[in-house]
Symmetry: C2
């Protein structure tokens, strides 16, 4: 199986639950954005046996730590995650509460001129809020 090695190489045991979550998250055409609750629902739809909510949280955080997921900084009552871990930007539709990817070519390079002593830039993300 393609995810067994991925997990083992990351020091994560390839459990049945983790492999099922890998299927839902990564074995799809397009990357996508999700909350924990939305992921839980997808898992229920796709698989017969249920995975406990605690395991969903544990797994998402483990994958985030390994760089297979990232959090999207947005003000919402739920945390948003992204299966697209490349550097990219977002539209956030305030009416529909929907996130849409922006390609880097849609924004162009961003040159941060200010420097902070002893700190390095980890990421540069643009959030474009949309309304009707």
């Amino acid at each position: 199986m393609k995810y067994i090695d991925k997990l083992r190489n990351s020091g994560l045991r390839p459990t049945k639950q983790r492999l099922q979550i890998c299927e839902v998250l990564f074995n799809v055409e397009k990357t996508f954005h999700f909350t924990i609750n939305e992921l839980e629902q997808k898992i229920k739809d796709k698989t017969d046996n249920k995975i406990s909510l605690a395991t969903v949280y544990n797994t998402v955080h483990a994958f985030e730590k390994k760089g297979y997921l990232k959090q999207i900084p947005i003000n919402s009552n739920q945390t948003y995650f992204d299966t697209n871990v490349t550097d990219h930007h977002h539209f956030y539709d305030l009416n529909d509460q929907k996130l849409i990817d922006l390609e880097n070519s849609d924004v162009g390079p961003i040159n941060i001129k200010k420097k902070i002593n002893g700190k390095k830039i980890k990421s540069v993300e643009v959030l474009v809020k949309l309304e009707d």
Copy 2:
């Protein structure tokens, strides 16, 4: 008093509590970022009588709605607000969990080329994450 008119003109009654919060938020040299808990602490430090936590929440949301404050989109367990309501960007220091303003001149103009049908751009914000 300078905040009485500001509040009345916004359709907000200039109560003692709101005026005190105005002093803390706006009667200072520099704009700043805060969480509700940090604001509550500042209020305690500055004034003798206490303002209930519910009123702090109510007031911050009322001021946000009127455009006197804005929320900063960031992943934290607490919501961050900004007394600088002009368009500007932020450094977020992941180690210290501190927000620092970036001037527009520090980033340069950002040209969003992609358009979404029937939606207009409300804001464009850059978040630059820093680490040691």
